[in-house]
């Protein structure tokens, strides 16, 4: 069973979203996703200042065997990148919900975050696959 913390929001593309303030979120990939990918060896993140559109590709996560795209979970502007995870992508495997975060998005509408999946809805998705 994969770990799905209840205080986070999720997307069907196996990303988690954590509200840091009323209009800023932190984004990463879920424990389920890191397990399915295997050893992660490369991360391509968006750039700080870049505008992202909900549902659009904004990065990549690669394991030894395959590549997986990262989708922006919400509309907004990239306000921070986790440089440590770019340098040490394996952090995503060991700590997907903490030090393995990928980027932060600001200028986010609160209702977009509310509309994301909650942990039980996301758990249903992981069981279906």
């Amino acid at each position: 069973m994969s770990d799905i913390p209840t205080h986070l929001k999720y997307t069907a593309e196996h990303e988690w979203v954590e509200s840091l303030s009323t209009d800023t979120v932190r984004v990463g990939i879920t424990d389920f996703a890191q397990h399915a990918l295997g050893d992660i060896v490369y991360v391509l993140t968006p750039k700080v200042g870049e505008s992202v559109r909900a549902g659009a590709v904004c990065g990549e996560v690669e394991s030894t065997k395959s590549v997986s795209e990262i989708y922006a979970p919400v509309n907004g502007t990239i306000s921070a990148i986790n440089d440590a995870v770019v340098a040490n992508p394996e952090t995503i495997n060991t700590a997907p919900y903490s030090s393995g975060w990928l980027f932060e998005v600001s200028s986010v509408a609160a209702q977009e975050v509310d509309a994301l999946l909650d942990s039980s809805a996301y758990a249903t998705i992981t069981l279906g696959t």
Binding site: G38, D39, V41, Y42, E60, T64, K65, V67
Partner: protein, 366 residues
């Protein structure tokens, strides 16, 4: 078809994948494995235990078996004697590669051919079709397991379980376990000092359990086919379907050393001699990325002017070098040391042409 060791992998919780109809382990969870990177590192630094029972096994027995096979496979079997193994190719009349194989010479009248899982049936069919002198050619795909023990501690591991024999690289001997005698070969696909064991299927689990207990006790890991692929890519070893195929000749793949040019005939020899005389337009080379990123099979390779000069056949992240590496078929005029670009999903990443292996080979180390 399934490996006689399948239940071991599922019990260990291995991530499984389909290989030519065989459900085989890709990687294992910790502590026995720990994922491709950990399993890869264990083979480079300690020892790794692999199930590669999906490899084919075709026996050729009867008077003159060796000389008969020497007119079929590309390499010259007269270079080896009983107790030695040889890398060889089965080509078609056009010089395309049906499969690459290891041939174990038990004597002038007995060989064991080990093809890739996906090609075992085609190799068997071609050999049967050429069998005009009543040799006994048998597809023994399910009769044996193939267990690979690879890494600097492999010799010590075999000694601990009482299966050790002093062997030169590419040679083999018979060992006995629980009263059953089978073949132990100094062969492998990792670039490390290593062995492959061919126990009959009915004792495979017992042999595996013994090896696995000792491997884990000495800091080794159980390793999956994920690590096997990153290990072989670091060595620049070709994989059929990627670096060799019906449309990629041995000359394209830069392995003409596996062709016995002095032999009068072998399948595809006329086409290959013409290719050799004319020269090939493309050659298999190594590419080492000079920027962060991971090349993958099918990606295009371009020169400084942006013109396409080749295509990647296999690419991965090198767990040893921590860089992207690739094998690629590129224009034969391009030399080692030249700078090229790889088109990675729209990003253009720099790479330098190198001569594999990407990391030093230790297959002949004592």
């Amino acid at each position: 078809m399934e490996s006689p060791l399948l239940s071991i992998h599922t019990t260990l919780g291995a991530k499984m994948g389909d290989f030519a109809g065989w459900l085989m382990p890709l990687e294992y969870p910790a502590p026995v494995g720990g994922g491709t990177l950990t399993e890869h590192q264990a083979v480079r630094e300690a020892v790794g235990l692999f199930d590669v029972s999906h490899l084919g096994k075709i026996s050729i027995v009867g008077p003159g078996a060796k000389q008969w096979a020497n007119q079929i496979f590309t390499n010259d079997l007269n270079r080896i004697a009983a107790g030695q193994a040889q890398y060889s190719l089965l080509c078609n009349d056009e010089g395309g590669v049906v499969d690459d194989v290891i041939i174990y010479c038990h004597g002038d009248d007995e060989l064991l051919v080990v093809p890739n899982a996906a090609n075992a049936e085609s190799v068997f069919a071609i050999l049967q079709g050429k069998n005009s002198q009543g040799l006994s050619i048998a597809n023994r795909h399910n009769d044996f397991a193939v267990i690979a023990v690879q890494g600097p501690l492999s010799q010590e591991l075999l000694r601990k379980v009482g299966l050790h024999q002093d062997l030169e690289y590419m040679s083999f001997a018979q060992v006995t376990f629980d009263g059953v005698t089978f073949t132990l070969c100094r062969t492998g696909y990792s670039g490390e000092h290593g062995y492959e064991l061919l126990p009959p299927s009915e004792i495979a689990v017992r042999v595996w359990n013994e090896l696995s207990r000792e491997a884990l006790a000495s800091g080794g890991k159980i390793a999956g086919l994920g690590a096997r692929d990153t290990l072989r890519t670091e060595m620049g070893y070709p994989l059929h379907g990627h670096e060799l195929s019906l449309t990629i000749s041995p000359l394209d793949a830069n392995i003409s050393w596996a062709i016995g040019w002095r032999k009068e005939a072998f399948l595809g020899h006329e086409a290959l001699r013409i290719q050799q005389a004319k020269g090939v337009a493309r050659l298999l080379r190594g590419l080492l990325l000079t920027e962060r990123g991971i090349p993958r099979g099918g990606m295009l390779v371009r020169n400084g002017a942006g013109a396409v000069v080749g295509e990647i056949t296999s690419g991965t992240f090198s767990p040893t070098l921590k860089e992207g590496i690739a094998l690629a078929l590129i224009e034969s005029g391009i030399e080692v040391g030249e700078q090229l670009m790889i088109d990675v999903r729209g990003r253009s990443l720099g790479a330098v042409v190198v001569k594999p292996p990407f990391v030093p080979s230790h297959v002949r180390d004592q």
